[in-house]
């Protein structure tokens, strides 16, 4: 059996960099940890397998950021929200290609990967965002 990559946040990000959204399914209780964790918060097992997540979902809630920290300042105003994927699991993310006043709770969205940036200093993780489906 080949060794599995660790069920960590860093590995989640590496997967994103490769165009894959993966969660960790607990082999003992079946709960999917998404984003992955090394310890199941339900049954405390550390035995997982990787499972692919759907890339489509709907917007549960959102906000339009006008006052942003330095690294996001040139993007304001921008929309961020919490997205429920088709299997019920959730991810926060930026929503692009949407008109501010057309953003609505429950609108269908799809996840899109962004090109990797060279890692020069921590943290430089690959990004994803959502756009209207």
């Amino acid at each position: 059996m080949t060794e599995q990559p660790p069920f960590t946040i860093e590995q989640f990000c590496k997967n994103i960099g490769q165009g894959k959204v993966l969660g960790g399914k607990c082999k003992k209780c079946g709960k999917i940890q998404f984003p992955p964790r090394p310890l199941c918060d339900n049954c405390l097992s550390k035995d997982f397998e990787w499972v692919e997540m759907p890339s489509k979902g709907k917007l549960l809630t959102y906000t339009i950021i006008y006052v942003a920290p330095t690294r996001f300042q040139q993007m304001v105003p921008y929309v961020v929200g919490i997205i429920e994927l088709e299997n019920g699991l959730r991810l926060p993310g930026m929503i692009k290609d949407v008109e501010l006043d057309k953003t609505k709770v429950d609108m269908p969205l799809v996840l899109e990967f962004e090109p990797c940036q060279p890692a020069t200093q921590w943290p430089q993780w690959p990004r994803y965002h959502f756009r209207p489906a």
């Binding site: 809630t61 906000t63 339009i64 006008y66 006052v67 330095t70 926060p92 993310g93």
Partner: protein, 390 residues
């Protein structure tokens, strides 16, 4: 516990809240400590105080960690065991709870609890960055979600599910500024209008500048003792009869509900049960209005109304001074100010004033039972205490 006193507050101190140029956090804490000593002439601080628990959130502000020992020394309590508690904006709520535990355990007869933060010497961008550390980094901050943004996410969903409006939220700001206008220690002692609030700059829609609490310097402290020793120090102690604390996921996105904070519900249930009181028996409350939506959700989480009906309380004026259950008579974080590490025990300070009849123009008549509700981050920590007049 059945409502019997857990510990008694025999004195309390609060620095001026605001922009306190020229002072380090330790010097501001000394102001609060001095007031607590002066209020209680029988207390011999150096001899009587057996421990200090102090809330402080950020080392970044003054490039200073190890705050427990520093503040013990500056409060004139050299060599007293001193521990800093950190739970973001609930840091001194957690300090209060640690003090309750120290007295209840029998280890200490008298303890000081408190908190401090010095923030205003930093730029708004820096403060925003430091406060954001209370939220999840890899998924929330990294995706551009700011700290006000997290509460805005709650507000959007609350508006969607229950029809809460931006005006309802603005009314909370107006109420708290009205209360704060009567608090000589508040940072902004002036009233605002609904138009001011609704017309202020958008920070994270639907939240505007006047939905947000202030950046503040300040310190607060309390002296706690065993109920049986309270009369030795004062004729007018305030008892703490219930104490609750709970945690939740650091990421808002991982929670079942965005319109209610599970940690606050759990902590308040613990505190109510311990104090043997119902939400309907609470005469007044200081709740964590870091953003106006947080106060509205607190009404619901604390059982002052049903889920989704928070707007009715504010619209009917029930939480205004003179109403059924005045909330944030101090002005709250919104008008009194929010030196994050000091906020939890500053709420308890207001409760101490109210329940000993020392709240002056903002005194709630016949106040007997009070409650404080202190949140950390977007609700990953909640600390609730119930107080009773003697």
């Amino acid at each position: 516990m059945n409502g019997r006193p857990l510990v008694s507050i025999v004195s309390a101190g609060l620095s001026k809240f605001g922009k306190l140029d020229g002072f380090y956090a330790r010097e501001i804490f000394a102001q609060a400590a001095k007031e607590a000593y002066d209020r209680c002439p029988v207390l011999e601080p150096k001899k009587d105080i057996k421990a200090l628990f102090v809330g402080h959130m950020g080392e970044s502000y003054e490039h200073q960690g190890h705050t427990g020992a520093t503040l013990a020394d500056w409060a004139g309590l050299l060599h007293v065991p001193a521990t800093r508690t950190e739970a973001a904006c609930a840091s001194s709520g957690a300090a209060l709870r640690a003090g309750v535990q120290a007295v209840l355990s029998g280890l200490c007869d008298v303890v000081m609890v408190g908190g401090v933060e010095k923030m205003t010497h930093r730029s708004t961008a820096e403060v925003t960055e430091y406060l954001a550390m209370a939220s999840d980094f890899p998924f929330e901050q990294w995706n551009g979600i700011t700290f006000p943004g997290l509460f805005a996410l709650m507000a959007t969903r609350h508006m969607h599910d229950y029809g809460t409006t931006e005006k309802d939220l603005a009314m909370i700001a107006v109420k708290n500024h009205y209360h704060g206008s009567m608090n000589p220690k508040a940072q902004m002692q002036k009233e605002i209008t609904l138009e001011n609030a609704l017309g202020s700059k958008v920070v994270a829609w639907p939240l505007k500048l006047y939905d947000c609490s202030l950046i503040t310097d300040g310190a607060s402290c309390l002296i706690l003792t065993k109920p049986e020793l309270a009369k030795k120090y004062t004729d007018n102690p305030v008892h703490i009869t219930g104490s609750g604390q709970a945690s939740d996921t650091i990421g808002l996105y991982e929670r079942k509900s965005f319109t209610s904070l599970a940690a606050a519900k759990i902590a308040s249930k613990q505190a109510y049960e311990m104090a043997d009181v119902q939400p309907s028996e609470i005469d007044l409350a200081e709740v964590h209005d870091c953003f106006t939506i947080a106060e509205l959700i607190a009404y619901e989480d604390l059982g002052f109304c049903k889920p989704g009906e928070g707007r009715r309380l504010i619209e009917a004026g029930e939480t205004r001074l003179g109403g059924r259950i005045p909330v944030n008579t101090s002005g709250g974080l919104k008008s009194k100010g929010h030196p994050v590490g000091a906020t939890g025990t500053a709420q308890a300070y207001e409760m101490y004033l109210q329940l000993t009849g020392q709240a002056d123009k903002r005194q709630v008549k016949d106040a007997e039972i009070g409650l404080t509700h202190n949140l950390g981050g977007s609700g990953a920590t909640a600390v609730v205490h119930v107080y009773r007049r003697t």
